[in-house]
């Protein structure tokens, strides 16, 4: 039994009617002022053009055959009377007939054919690249930086290890030379000299790079020096009888002979291969080399007396933490 109190489910109002908010005269004046400003503001040409373009695009994308508007259109009704049921006009077997009107394409300026699409393509590509980069940055920036730092550290340590190798080698040779007798300063110096002229290939690959790079730097320096000197050497020389050998040397007139490493100019695939390795791997091999050759632990900084290397916690850096 329906009573009057019961909800009238046919009622069209939902919930409470929103109360009209009464605005004060001040608010009203402000609102009107605001609205007036918006209305009165003269739009810039660019704004107008953009608005126009937008309006045009909207109008162009709306089919007149769809929606309620079409049914009311007299033109549509006339066509319907002629048997139009949607689709294209013309005879039935004309498959090419247009369904939609052609779009007018507005051309600004005098850009040649293909320029717009070319620009667009380039922009697209650039945007894609940018996006990729952004992604990489976001996800891997920290990783990459950490890795780079790690690599640089390893590289530094590898360089240090190489120096250790050289020093070890020198000490070993000195020891050998000492065994042969004559342990004064000059012989060591001479020995050192011979060391640098010894063929690169005879140096173990793990630290050959160190020597090679030093020799290369030296060669370049000398070549530069020669080049600077060469312009003066070409001039006719004035022979001064008073000059003795020391004078000549001081004046740089004696032809300096360089004892370059003989195979410096040769290709060295073995070294290239080693150089191409990751710094950590280089370091690992160097550490191993030092252990095997000299019983030296790079991490302990200590030369053990025998190959067992008792007391060294292990092969890696972590082992020494």
């Amino acid at each position: 039994m329906a009573s009057d109190e019961e909800d009238d489910y046919m009622n069209m109002t939902f919930g409470e009617e929103p109360k009209a908010v009464t605005e004060t005269s001040l608010q009203r004046r402000q609102r009107l002022k605001r609205e007036g400003e918006i209305k009165g503001r003269v739009k810039s040409k660019a704004e107008l053009a953009a608005e126009e373009r937008e309006a045009r695009e909207e109008a162009l994308s709306k089919s007149m055959l769809e929606g309620a508007q079409a049914k009311k259109s007299k033109g549509f009704n006339m066509m319907a009377k002629m048997g139009f049921k949607g689709g294209a006009l013309g005879s039935k077997d004309n498959a090419d007939a247009l369904l939609e009107p052609l779009r007018p394409e507005m051309k600004d300026g005098r850009a040649g054919i293909g320029l717009d699409s070319d620009r667009k393509r380039k922009l697209d590509e650039a945007a894609k690249d940018q996006q990729k980069k952004l992604k990489v940055d976001e996800e891997e920036f920290r990783d990459r930086v950490r890795k780079e730092r790690e690599q640089a550290r390893h590289e530094r340590m590898a360089h240090g290890a190489m120096k250790v190798c050289e020093r070890m080698d020198e000490e070993k040779q000195q020891l050998e030379a000492g065994e042969l007798g004559g342990d004064d300063e000059t012989t060591t110096k001479k020995k050192k000299r011979t060391l640098s002229t010894r063929p690169l290939k005879s140096i173990p690959v793990v630290w050959r790079g160190l020597v090679r790079r030093r020799e290369e730097a030296e060669r370049d320096r000398r070549m530069k020096y020669d080049l600077e000197q060469s312009s003066t050497t070409r001039l006719p020389e004035y022979e001064d009888d008073l000059e003795d050998a020391d004078d000549k040397e001081a004046m740089g007139k004696t032809p300096t002979t360089y004892a370059l490493v003989e195979d410096l100019d040769e290709e060295d695939p073995e070294l290239d291969e080693f150089d191409a390795l990751e710094p950590s791997e280089k370091l690992r091999r160097l550490v191993e080399f030092l252990r095997n050759e000299y019983n030296y632990c790079f991490w302990c900084k200590f030369t053990y007396p025998d190959a067992a290397m008792e007391g060294c916690p292990g092969l890696t850096e972590e082992d020494h933490d």
């Binding site: 259109s73 007299k74 013309g90 369904l99 052609l102 600004d108 054919i113």
Partner: protein
Amino acid sequence: MADSKNSSKVSSDKTDRKRANSPYADATAKRLKSESKTEKPNPYLAHWEDESNMNNGFSKGSPFKAFKRRQTTAKQAAKAEDSDNNPFTGQPHSQQYFNILKTRRNLPVHKQRQEFLDLYQKSQILVFVGETGSGKTTQIPQYVVYDELPHLNHKMVACTQPRRVAAMSVAQRVADELDVTLGEEVGYSIRFEDKTSSKTMLKYMTDGMLLREAMHDHEMSRYSCIILDEAHERTLATDILMALLKQITQRRPDLKLIVMSATLDAQKFQRYFCDAPLLAVPGRTHPVEIYYTPEPEKDYVEGAIRTVLQIHAGEPEGDILLFLTGEEEIEDTCRKISLEVDELVRETDAGPMAVYPLYGTLPPYQQQRIFDPPPNPSKKGGRPGRKCIISTNIAETSLTIDGIVYVVDPGFSKQKIYNPRLRVESLLVSAISKASAQQRAGRAGRTKPGKCFRLYTEKAFKEELIEQTYPEILRSNLANTVLELKKLGVEDLVHFDLMDPPAPETMMRALEELNYLACLDDEGELTPLGSLASEFPLDPSLAVMLISSPEFYCSNEMLSITALLSVPQIFVRPAQKRREADEMKNLFKHPEGDHLTMLNVYHAFKGVMNRGEDTKMWCHQHYLSFRHLSSADNVRAQLKRIMETQGLELVSTDFHDKNYYTNIRRALVTGFFMQVAKRENNKIYRTLKDNNSAVMLHPSTVLGADYDWVVYNEFVMTSKQYIRTVTGIRPEWLLELAPVYYDLETWEGQKDVKQALKAVAEKMRRRNAMKGGK
């Protein structure tokens, strides 16, 4: 005699074949049967192919004695052409005739005359492909005349042309070739000018004219053969004619149709006409090398100038053809190139170069200059001179200039485009089609192997250009066409078999517009007003305006305005003398609008003419186009004749009456109520109803800022939008004169406009009430 027997035998042979090949084999067969049954000559069909009757028609010595209609041979025709007397007029042939005859026989198409006749006689519809320079436009109609013998059966041969100028010049040429007077045996008929007589047997006409004729003669019964020339251009009228003739040829088996096209895309025509046979005649062409740019151009005009100069500096002898888009651009480029070439000549040993513009609205004598020979070397033994023609796409197909060896193609042309959703028809610079580009390139190979420089990349050519230019019917407002079709008796517009049917919305919009103009009723039937409007070769809105003008006592004035709107711009504004031109224009200025200003000009022009002064001089002094004003005068006379035959009164309000101009403005509203804009703020107007866009008054307008409501003649869509040729009106008139279009009950346009109009309606109501109260 022997000849005649022979040919009849051949022809019977052919009719057999015809039965098999003709697209309408059944109908043809029926007709043949009925003919063979009637032994006695049927007097009612005397105009058909009654040979006995025909032979009697010839005087004894006539070169046509042995001719049988639609059974002649090339040999017979050649003999008749060689005879001393003109077979059509009986007059002796002039010497000039024989001179021309010699050149005619060198044309490529001449070699295939017999082949053409064989196919023509065999089939009702024939597709003929001949590249430009093959001679098809002048020769084929003559071949048909020699076979149809139209002077005997009193049915003409018609040849349509898309352009008026072509129709006129070709008719003149063919009259010379046949040694007859233009306007007699050979004539032409173009809008607002008919140069034919009762003797006319071959008629060149614009395609639009033939369409107009068909409105009163649905069967095209005056013609025995219709030739649609330049069908590849796919003008609106040619497209409609093709669809109409496709129907008529089924009803009229005696009507022959030849569709002539200059491009090899003829298969489409063949398919459309139920696989009609095709005959192709090669043109005289040489190979053309095509060059593309490696990178897209930043500025195609700059690129074009650069390319022309490079050609001039580095390529051997030969003229240059550069395609640009419009008058202004062309004139501007002409100047720039001339200056650059002067410099080139001063600094290097480059030869002289003459630069000529070419576009449709150029006066004929200036157009003629493009045929001048190139300039001579500036000094003896110097490098040869050359000419450079800068043209719109009229040099693409319609005009043939010999000597062109280099073509520069930036790939653009101005094209009309209409979109029913925007309701705006405008000329836009658009990329051309591949077919167009090919056509342009071909222009370089007319005299010797040539080169075509395309100012776009090969990739852009392949990927960005459409295959074929869209036919006009897809790019036009169809209001006029729909009205014509209705008048042509086409009931079912939806299934009308057009080669390329327009989009449904375009048709819908056209029907709607005609309904608002009261040319069609709600059922889509032609109203008396619509029927009357279709008599005028005008846009329906202009026609309706003209028809209603007597009600406003200004039909004389509206006639003038309509004529002025039907010709190109009458105001001349040379680039160097803009200020002087504007000052002169101000002399005629009417503050209420451009239509009235134009009317002032016309009245002044007529005044000068009536006083017997030198109108040409006067026009020159006042920066007006004499050519366009005279042509407007001519158009007016033609329209006046139509008004008179339709029984429309020619009246004027007294000039001193204060309502003289008001009446004219009110009459304008009857035609242009769908082209109204309301002012939004100082400079911006907004067009009304569903065509809702912000526009500015075109800088050329004389209208002061006093009017909030204006009618406009033209919507110019560029990067900015303008309305052009504008006159101020009062909003009351809209409600009063176009109550259906401005029905506020069903208004769905802008709300503020509705409010404004409502206020106006209220004011009107009160005023009327007050009047009633008094």
